[in-house]
Structures are given as C-alpha cells and as structure tokens.
Symmetry: D2
Subunit: 435 residues, 4 copies
Amino acid sequence: MKQTNVKPADGKLGIMIVGNGAVATTFMTGVFMTRRGLAKPIGSMTQYDKIRVGRGADKQYLHYSDIVPLAKLDDIVFGTWDVYPQNAYQAAMYAEVLKEKDINPVKDELEKVVPMKAAFDRNYAKRLDGDNVKDCKTRWDMVEQIRQDIRDFKQNNGCSRIVVIWAASTEIYVPVDETLHGTLAALEAAMKADDREHIAPSMCYAYAALTEGAPFIMGAPNTTVDIPAMWELAEKTKMPIAGKDFKTGQTLVKSGFAPIIGTRCLGLSGWFSTNILGNRDGLVLDEPANFHTKEVSKLSTLETILKPEVQPDLYTDYYHKVRINYYPPRNDNKEGWDNIDIFGWMGYPMQIKINFLCRDSILAAPLLLDLTLLSDLAARAGRYGIQRFLSFFLKSPMHDYTKGEEAVNNLYQQYTMLKNAIREMGGYEADEEID
Amino acid sequence: MKQTNVKPADGKLGIMIVGNGAVATTFMTGVFMTRRGLAKPIGSMTQYDKIRVGRGADKQYLHYSDIVPLAKLDDIVFGTWDVYPQNAYQAAMYAEVLKEKDINPVKDELEKVVPMKAAFDRNYAKRLDGDNVKDCKTRWDMVEQIRQDIRDFKQNNGCSRIVVIWAASTEIYVPVDETLHGTLAALEAAMKADDREHIAPSMCYAYAALTEGAPFIMGAPNTTVDIPAMWELAEKTKMPIAGKDFKTGQTLVKSGFAPIIGTRCLGLSGWFSTNILGNRDGLVLDEPANFHTKEVSKLSTLETILKPEVQPDLYTDYYHKVRINYYPPRNDNKEGWDNIDIFGWMGYPMQIKINFLCRDSILAAPLLLDLTLLSDLAARAGRYGIQRFLSFFLKSPMHDYTKGEEAVNNLYQQYTMLKNAIREMGGYEADEEID
Amino acid sequence: MKQTNVKPADGKLGIMIVGNGAVATTFMTGVFMTRRGLAKPIGSMTQYDKIRVGRGADKQYLHYSDIVPLAKLDDIVFGTWDVYPQNAYQAAMYAEVLKEKDINPVKDELEKVVPMKAAFDRNYAKRLDGDNVKDCKTRWDMVEQIRQDIRDFKQNNGCSRIVVIWAASTEIYVPVDETLHGTLAALEAAMKADDREHIAPSMCYAYAALTEGAPFIMGAPNTTVDIPAMWELAEKTKMPIAGKDFKTGQTLVKSGFAPIIGTRCLGLSGWFSTNILGNRDGLVLDEPANFHTKEVSKLSTLETILKPEVQPDLYTDYYHKVRINYYPPRNDNKEGWDNIDIFGWMGYPMQIKINFLCRDSILAAPLLLDLTLLSDLAARAGRYGIQRFLSFFLKSPMHDYTKGEEAVNNLYQQYTMLKNAIREMGGYEADEEID
Amino acid sequence: MKQTNVKPADGKLGIMIVGNGAVATTFMTGVFMTRRGLAKPIGSMTQYDKIRVGRGADKQYLHYSDIVPLAKLDDIVFGTWDVYPQNAYQAAMYAEVLKEKDINPVKDELEKVVPMKAAFDRNYAKRLDGDNVKDCKTRWDMVEQIRQDIRDFKQNNGCSRIVVIWAASTEIYVPVDETLHGTLAALEAAMKADDREHIAPSMCYAYAALTEGAPFIMGAPNTTVDIPAMWELAEKTKMPIAGKDFKTGQTLVKSGFAPIIGTRCLGLSGWFSTNILGNRDGLVLDEPANFHTKEVSKLSTLETILKPEVQPDLYTDYYHKVRINYYPPRNDNKEGWDNIDIFGWMGYPMQIKINFLCRDSILAAPLLLDLTLLSDLAARAGRYGIQRFLSFFLKSPMHDYTKGEEAVNNLYQQYTMLKNAIREMGGYEADEEID
C-alpha cells in the first residue's frame, strides 16, 4: 500500500444496525461465518473487487484493502435496535433466509446480539406490532436516548469507532419541508417541539449518530437523509452521511440494463416494473403511505440515465411505472418482472422482459458490509458530508440538489465514482471523467 | 470540427452488400426513408450518439460527425449480390420485416437495386436454392469476377470509395488451418488450386474487396476474417477489415448484462441461452454444420467478461450453453430466452431470466450503417488492418490472437474503445484505459 | 337437424352494441369480412366447434348450426351507441387493432355504422370525454330514449329480432343494494326518482332492451345484471339475460389452468396475476373506482374451482391477488403475467409463470358473436332469465345466489354446460353431470 | 363401499422399483414419512382425489378407497435395483431433492432398502458408470436372474403381491421391430439368442415381472411396453401392463393447456418447448441416442389433442418442437419454457409463454404411488393387458395401435377414463363418453 493520508483502522469498529430482521441477521451471520472460514462474502466489493490503479505500464489491479486501510472483519462488533425483542439467532431462524446449517455454527455469537429497545412511532409503520420500544417523551428525548445507547455500546464493547446503518422498514412518506427541514436549527427546534408529523424516528437515529461522531447510512427509502438540516449536521460534525435505499433487486437491474439501451442509442417507449415480495418489508410496503416513499425512490432511476434533453428522438415521453405487491408465498424471495418496450431502426418496437428471482437479504447483506466499511474509511480520510461515491450501492443516491447536483444512477458511472474515490484515498490519480 | 488528419469524405460512397435479404433491404429502406425525412435511423451511433471530448472545463458532448468527417447519408449508393434475383423492393416485401407503408414511399429507389449474381457454393449453405449465381471455374476465378463487379459498380455509379459488407447467411464452419490460411501466399495458392473445402466463397469477397481498395466487414460468424492471411492482405492493401457477426439480440444483452454481474462481484453458476427464429437465417442455422459456426461465435462472449483467473470464487466452472432453434412462426422476430444462475452472499443462488422479443433485421440495420461509415472513416484516417474499435458492433470481435491479444466483449469497454478511436481521429485525447 | 322446438331464425337479426370502440369494431369488421370470404371467424364456437350428440353407436360430432337453428352471419345488421361520434370505420382505424388491409375491403359497410348518442353519465367513467351523449332528464327518461332507439333501429332495418350487448367501458363499482335493486318495482321507482348514485347508465340499457323484447348481455364487469330486479324483469319479459365480463385473456387462462392443478391434486399456496394494457379500457380502469369493479369480477374465478372445503390440505389459505395496470405502450395488446405457486409431494413448492401476450379485442370479438347468436337462440327456444349455459364466455358468470347457486368457473364444466344446452335445444339428451 | 368383484387387498404389497435414484427415493421417503404422519402425499390421486359416483339425487363424491379396495400405505414393502450400490438413505441425500429434515426421521427405514444388482448394459446408457451390476450370460439369463430376485423378495418379505415399476434412466431408442418384437415367441427366441441390439435390459425386467405374476409399469420413454410381444405376455399371464413415461412437468402442462386452446376454437401456429434439467436423468438425455427416445415420446402429445382432420382451419401445419438440455445448475429442478403461438379472430396472432419451475422427482413421486396401487387394483379386478385408464399419469400412453386405437393425451379425457374405471371397478355406472 502506498503512503496515504487516511488514518489507520486501529481498534474495534462498532456497527450498530437499526433493525434486527432478515437483512441485519443475514449480514451478521455472513460476517461471523466468514470469520470462521465457513462462508464467503460473495457480492461484497470491499472483499472481492479489484480495481485498476495507475495507467499504462504502471497499472495494477488491486483489492481495495491493498489500496486503502479498511477495517478488518475480525475487528467488527455488532449491535442492533428492534421493536421485536428476539435475539439475532432467533430472528435469523424466523426470517428463513438462510438454511439452519448456515446459521447454527455461529449460534452463540448471534444469540449475544440482543436488540436494544427501538425508537419507534407506530404511525410511521402501522403494520408492525412489536413492543420492544423506548418510552420517549419527545423527539428530542428520543435523540437523547439513542445517543446514550451509542455511548454505552461503544464503551461496553471497547470500540474505537462506530457506524450506524438503517436496515429497518420503510417509514411513511415525509415530504421535505423547507421550513422545518431546511436548517439544523429548525430541525432541532422541531425535535424539541416534538413535531411528530415532520420528524420521523429515523431522523432521530441519524441525528444521534452524527452527533456522537458516527457516520450514518440510510438503507431504506426514508427521506431522513434528504433534508439540508442533516447535511448541515454532517458538515458540522465532520461525519460522512450516505443514502438512500439499498440497491438490491429490480433497481440494480434497471441501473445496469438501461445503460445497454442508452449506449446503443435504442429508443424507449415504456418500462413497467412489478415486484412481488412476502417478507416484513413487503408487509409494510402494502400500506399505501409506506409504499409511496418507496415509489418515489424507485422512479427516479431511469430519468437520469436516459435523458430526453440529450436524445429527444429516443427518450421523450416514455412511460415508466413501478408496482410493488405484497405476496406472502414469496417470503424473502423478492421477485421482479420488468417489461421494457424499446424501439429501433425506423421506430420499430421490440420488447425485453426480465424476471429476477432474487433474494432480498442475500443481495442486501454485502451492501451493508461495504457501506459501513467504506463510510468508516471516509471518516478516517476526512471526507465528510454527502458521500456521492457510495451511489453505487444505493437506489436513490444522495446529491445536493440545492446546488443543482444531479443523482448519478447509471451503474457504470457510479462504479467509476467508487473506483475514483478509492484511488484518491489510496494516493492514486483518479480518472477525471465518469463517461 | 477540429483540424484532423483524416481525409475528407468527398464524393459518393458505394456500399456493396453481400446479400439482398431481410437485413440488407431493411438497412437500405431505412436509409432511403431517412433521406426523405420519412423515418429515423434509430439505433445508429453515427447518427445519434454524442460523446464527450475534452476534459474538465473543456469537455463537450458532440455527435460523431462534429468530431470527424463522416460520409453523409445523401452520398451513399447501394449495390448487392444475392443468389435470388429479386430486386430490393421485392426482397423487402418478401421479408415482411417492415410494413408496406414504410417501404412504398421509396419503392422506386429499391427497385433499382437489382442484385448481381452471387459468388456461391451450395456446399456452404445447403438450405439455399437460389440460382442467381456466378459460374466460376475456380476460387481464383470467383475472386476475379467479384473484383470486376466492384470496379464496374464503382465506375457506373461514379463512386469515389467503396465498402463491402457481408450481410448474407452463415456458411458452414471452416476451421482455421495454419498451413492454408496462415499466409497470404498460401491463401492465394489455395484459391488458384481451387481448394473448395478450405476456401469459402466469403473469403473470395473479402479478398476481392481488399484488393480493390475497399474495407471489408464480415457480418456473419464465418471465419473469413479470422485468418492471418486476410490480415496480411489488409496490411498490404492498407485497408480496414472488421468482423465478425453483427451483435444484435441475445449477445447484445449478454455483453451488456454480464457486466452487471461482474461489477457487483456476484458469482455465476450457469448461463443458458436459447433462441427461436424463423427467417432464412434460422433456416440455414438449422443445418448443424452452419449452426456450429454460429455457436463457436456466441460462446466466447462470457469468458472474456467474467474471468475465473481474476475471480476464482465467482467464475470458476460456470456452465454456459447456447441453443439456436429454427421456429418458423417467429419469422424475423428472433426471440431469446436467457436463464442466468447467479449466487450471492454466502453462496446463495438466485435466477435471472431474460426474454428478448427482438427483431433481427431492425437491430442489425443500424449496425450496417455504422460499420460501413466507420470503416470508410478509418480508411481515410489511414487506420488499416484489424479495427478493434468496431468490436462494439460485433458478436465475436477480431483480435490478433497470434500476438496474444484477447477479444474485448464487455459492451462498455467496447464503447470506450469506440469513443477513444473517434476522439483520436478527431484530434482529441483518448482516455487511456478501458476499465 | 332433428326436429326441435326452437323457433326458426327467420328474418334479420339486429345486433345493437353499446360501445363503438376497439371490441365492437373488431367484431363487426370480422363479420363483414367473413361474409365476403376474406377472413375467418377464428375463436367462435358457433362457427367452428363440433360437439358430440348421441352416445355409443349413435354418437355424431356436429357443428352447432347442424343441431339448432342459429341465425346466419348474412342476416345480421349492426347498430351501436357511443360517446364518440366517429363511425365504425373511423373507430376501427383509430383502435389500431386490425391492419388497414383487413379493414379497407369493408370500409363502406363500416362507414354506415354511425353510433347513436350514448346514454352516459360522466361520473361513471371520468376518463372518457366524448360528447356524443343523450340529454336525459332522469334515468327513466334515459330508459325511454334507449327504447325509442331500439324501436327505430328495428323498424328502419327491418329486423325481426334484436339483441343488445354491452361492449363499452367498465363503470365505477355500484354495490348491489337490496332495497333499491332487490325488486323490479324498487328499481323502476329509483329510475323515476332519478337516483343517479344507484342507477348506472348500463342498467338503463339493460332495462330498455329487455322491455323491448331483446336479450341483454353485459360484457363488462358492471353489476348491471347482478341485481334481482333485472332477473325479475327478464322473467317477466321472457327474455334471456347474460353476463358478466367477457372472458378474454388472463381469466380465460386461469379458468383453464386451475383445473390442471385441481385435477392432479396439487396444492396451491398463491396466485398472483398482473395485467398491463394500454387501450381505452385500460385508461378507464386506471381510475380506482372503475378498477374495483373489475377486481371484484376477476377474483372470484379461483375460489369456485379450487375449493378448500373439498380439499383442505390443498386449497386452504392460498393468496390470490389481481392487479391491472394502465400502460400505454401496449395499446390493445393486453398482456398478462401470472405467477402460480403450487406445492406437491410432501409439500414441496414449485412455480409456474404464464405470460400471455394477447390482444383484447381479438379474443373478445368471437365472444360477441357467440353470445349474441346464442342469446337469440335461447330466446327462440323459450329459455329466459339467467343463461347459465353462457358461463363459458364470461369472467364472472351469472347465477342466482339468492337460491344458493354457485358460479361455475371451471372452463371444462362451463363447456359441458354449453354443450348440454345445445344438445337439449337440439332435441338430444344432455349429459347429466358436469364433472 | 359397494359390493364389488375386486379381490380384497389382503396382505403385503411389494413394490419393486427399477432404479434407486432421485425419483425412487423421493417416493419411498414420502411414503415412510406419511405413514408416520410427518408428511402429506400431495399430488396423489389415490390419497386425495374425490370423484362423483352415481347421478342426480344419488350422486356422491368419494375417495377412491371408499369406492374400491386399494392397498394401504402401511402394507407396502419396498425393494429396488440399481447400478449404484448406495442404500436409499444415501441415495436420497445424494439426490438433494428433499431437505435433510424431511429424510432423517425415516433414515432407518431407508437404510434398509439396499439395491439389488441391476440388470444393465452400458450400451443402453453410456453416461452411467455404476458397477452394482449383474453378470448375465445372455438376455435370457438376465430374465432368469430378475425372476429369481422377485421370487426371493416376495418370500423374504412375506408379500402376497408384487408390482414392478421402472423409475430408472431412459435407454437408447430401440425402434419396434415387427419381426423380433411382434410375437412373444419371437421375443423369447431373441432373448435366448442374446440379441443385445434389439432386447433392452428393460424388456427383461418387464418379461420377468409379468411372468412372475406382477404388473409392470414403464416410467421412462423406453419402447419396452410398446411391443406386441409384451402385450401378448400380459394377456397370457393375465397381468396389467402400463406405460410409458411419467407425465411430470412440461407434458403435464401441455396436455392440460392444449385443451384450453382447443376448447375455445383458437388456432395454433406453433408450440416450442424447451427444458433445462441437471440431474442424472438430464445427463443421460444429453446423449443423442437417449434423447431421441424421449423426443419421440414427447412429440405425440399435441397431435391427438388438436386434430387437423377435425379443425383444418385451426390445426393444420402447426410447428411443434421439443428440446431437452442438460444444464447442471438446475439439478433436479427441471425447468420448462413453452412458447405457444396461437391465432384468433381473423387470424391475428398471439403468444403464450409458460415457464414451469418444477421439481421432477416431486412431481413423479405421487405418480409412482398411484400407478403401483392402481395396477395392483387392476390385477385384483381381473383387468389385464394394456391399462388405458392409467393414461392420465403417462406422457405417451399405451394403446393397441395394431387395432387402430389412438392414444388419449387430453388430460381431461384421461381423467374421465380414470374415473370411469374406478367407478366400474367399484360397481358404479361409468359415464359412457369422454368428451
């Protein structure tokens, strides 16, 4: 490794997960099993990807950990919050994502992960009925309690650093309100005034994490990290913030497939996406208010990849529709069906249909590993505020729209951004452009 | 446009097409209709794509024709060879690719394209029974007759330049024979000796074109352009040569979809591709000897994108199978069904199924336009021999394996190569690396 | 033909269609073209099907018209009502279901079909904006005007008999109200009181038709024919009544596929059905109130085929969901995607996915022909009231639930009912049982 | 139960299975688990189906065992032959069809099923390499050894009756040879003359079974039971014979789906079926000579359901193609993809695509149970020779073509035949007709 300005990854890294469900337990089980050599962390960029550094005769293909100082899997300690009190072993068994034989060897480690009481408000997720919940007088009190949890966890586990990541359900849609969410001062005032309509519990987690000097990552489509107040806080605390919504099944395919169409200058007349899923995430999304949050997040993908202003003959007025359907027989095996209507030479139509029989938690787990390790890396590299280089992992990537920034959704442009950031943190030259 | 060293595209460009069937007539009809403002050449990079030139503050997004001197559609003249004597209007109607209303406005122009007699050998395509065929004593005689056709066409139509492109059927598989195909001298000797087993008619077209100072492009999977003798001839005549096999349906999807898997470090256990198609191309491929040629061409795609030597945990021993089935009810509407078996976190399996209801000729037509215009450009730019920058358009791209070169099949790496070549010919700096 | 008690089909049959859109014009064009020998009425049971009559040594396989006196295609005269004033030729061209070459030969006949002003209430179909609409003071006035239309049409065209069929859009859901819809007297009172909330325009058409001595058929999922008042009217006027909702794409498949599962004693854990369609029908169904009408109609299919009370191990608690999505790129090419989750030996799960790329109007047209001809036959045979034997053609078949009757949705049981009715009207013995 | 003439099912029933692989072990495990109340024999007609007996007021819906005397699951004893020596527990674990937790409870019973040495000839299945094989001097000797096995098994296990069923691999295609296979005398002569080309090992099993007074059922597409000599033997020994080829995935769907098309008088222009499968059965079928046997069996299905002679406008010249592909990633999860090209009103085309993610052994297991129990029943009922009523379970049902009989492939006609036979054996009146 070159000499870099990134601080070394000394000591233990505490990964505190909001949610102790299918995604979180699949992630933790995989890390425990990998540490014992019993499983492989397939799908993780930090563990597998090799990227080019240098050019021409000097070029090399290196793993991330050979370029920058990443935390080691052995140095990770896990903590969770959840509205259900079951420990991670019980939750993993209930989730039925992994086979028993892939959970049992690390049963003891999973059993030790007992979720802390969740900061929860049932108005934000009506379909959840757990009662392992904090008693909070106000939203500000909610923040204080979460901060105390973080401090306790850090001390009890001897962690040198903490990262907080949201892997819980989608909350109902909270539109960004310029008055209440526009500045840190306004946000804090609303929290103190206990404005429960505009302050989602997830905002309290984010606020608490950043204030305690921990990067925060939003894995659901909640607008938590879309508000300027939170960016201001990240700047103030010099902490990374990232989101939103893990890019798992259908959007992964969309952000990878749309570039095929765009690169070949084929036209698009419509894209219809439907999902069927049956886990707790699906149950929550069956509630229209929660689905709306997800839909807003999912719809933006195409618009920034296939742009009518650049290719009016090809991408004007295509019809884009996204549907999510709760369908219990699928359980965690989320299934996507995409119908893509393209047109070619002389406007003649063609169809592409993609049926993705994926597994939500299996696709999400490596994203949690990468997002937490890379956020921790960014913090040590002194990169704070919005982390655009993590767009690769996210369905609706953060960008400062108040400065006219656009989201980058094209998977390959996102990948270039990721590689460039690793190169820069490793002391190598980045490629200047992403297209 | 910057000052470039490319010669200007003055005068008429003769595009001579081997084959006057569905692909060729769809191509010609589209060009005629576009010239009259009655259709749009969707899918054509030379007509639609904009690429970045310059970097940072200097960067601009320009159409190809604003970077390099491309021939104009108005300057194109068409000629064809075919075993069937029907003119291009009749052939277009027979093909049933385009609707009558999209053919009739240019009926007069199409009727003027009457195919010259084909250089044909029925042993190479048993299922074709046309008799608009040259009477050739030897393969060398075949070459001579084609050369005469090219000279006549050029003179009669007042063309300043000619490009020859193969858009005819797949021939039976001719394995590369180092002795007979290894040097130009050996090739010429075999032609003179009338070695009909090792010299396919397509080789005579390629030989004739290059010798007459015309670039040659192989649109079928024939091994014509895979033989060192032909490269030697291209070097000697300072002409571009390109191939092979137009990248239309399933392989386009494959070369664009495999990078999604690779980029996200997901594993692959198998990829099963089946095609059903019902046009004359399908009929020819129903003959095992002809199918073999196609299969060899299609199988190589994945191996260079997902490499076991780079990611042994992910890409060792995946099972790749390609099937092509003649199924008349589909006619030109070639349909692909891909079954992709991937695995993620801890090795858990997932499936992706892609059903592409494409139209073979609609996807191929813009490739003919781009390949001929860009080959003509390359010739004027003094770029001769194998044109790797045209890999983007081809299923099994040419590469000099005798020098250890590997084919580039990843659609986005191919695209970078294409953009770099345009940039360079336009006097701009290329991006150095393709990954 | 045996001697039967059915009155002969003498004179002209007037088929009056509510709606002059894609379905109606495809139907009429096909009849006109068939009469000239230019097309074939594929999909029509009355024109194609042969059924067994007699048993053992006496059995014969005969076309319907060789068993019973059906009206001839040559004796049909068409009339329509529509909110848009375009004649049937214009409407057929606009619909883009049929190719021009299949419409033009009968252009003159189609042009003569100019829709009468529709009895319409925009509250029942917000997305429709035509203004070829009757000015009606009350619902009773609406009835009177439609009756006058029927009398005028019958006289002007010299028809001996009339059938009225609804091929217009789905109205918003009107729940059956026992008080208002329970008796004919109550219904008439509500019409006179101009109760626009409970009396849909479709009820006025049905009332008018029956009163004028014409069978009425409901082709949309409107509850028009589900109300006891209408049955009472049909009994009183001794006229057949049939409905509801043409069984075209997805439900046809469902009613034919579910029996495969049931017959083999396989279990069902879930059935997810999604549709995408882009014609005017889809536009109307994009309005939630109109969709609700459709959903109620579509959901009932499975429940009567796969019965938990008969096979509790196999059919208890399966999850059945139906989605309809407006998606303009499909136009009339309605597409269904069904995901069927079954289980077999020891409860092991399997999946079946059916993707139906159908054409709504092409599938509906022969149903209109069969339903009108067979309703006319039934009238002449003295069979009045609910026509259960027409269940075969309908998504949500009529049945007198007040007498504990159940709908029959199994396609093969419906077919047996159809065959039995034809046999009986033809003077043959029916098979007694449908399973 | 009514008084019937069927002998009671007293004593133990020995089910001797040729093959101890995925299908056989899934079958046996399920029976063992069901006997202990730990699993349910879903998909089995004899255990689940209820059929109507009587008509009108007298009709009742009864389980088969309430109509006829079926052997009980508790009375079954299993024996197997296989080229691999592993016991049924080991083979079940190797097959990976069932989860460990569904095998382990009956491990002890499975371990006791140790396969006898197989009567095998590697020329009939090149891809199999097991060596648990009998040493046979001639085919006649092979017969003798199998007969001895049957006698020994019967005696050792105290069975009152034996049924032999083939659940082993597909052999290479043996065309029926009128001279050698036409009479029993000729067959016996060929066996004694050790004509290994015309006498497949499966014929020796069938001969041995029938001669020992055991019904024989052919579950693979081998021509074993298609030869008149074998029918003659069945008549002579008064034993039932049934076959061939278990109707599991794609053909089940085909025989159930084609009737939908036929019943609605829709036209068919083509049906393309492809399969991917990865178990030992797939490996064997990857050998062209073995595949040919399967292909012949699968192609006949449609022809007898959709008949051009009855509906020339609808079913003349449709293109039917079947492909089977060995694809190891699927293992036992055989997957079918059917593309059905239909046409409707005025000849307009539509497509249906069916993707069946099935499990071969899960679908086959209940067929073994039903076929063995029903063959045993037939034997006790004195019904010998070809058992047409078992067509329901078979891909290519037996029929005496020398008498002009046709195979019945329509699933519902087959079901009627099955029900009629049960009714008759139970002393009830059969419905006379199957359509």
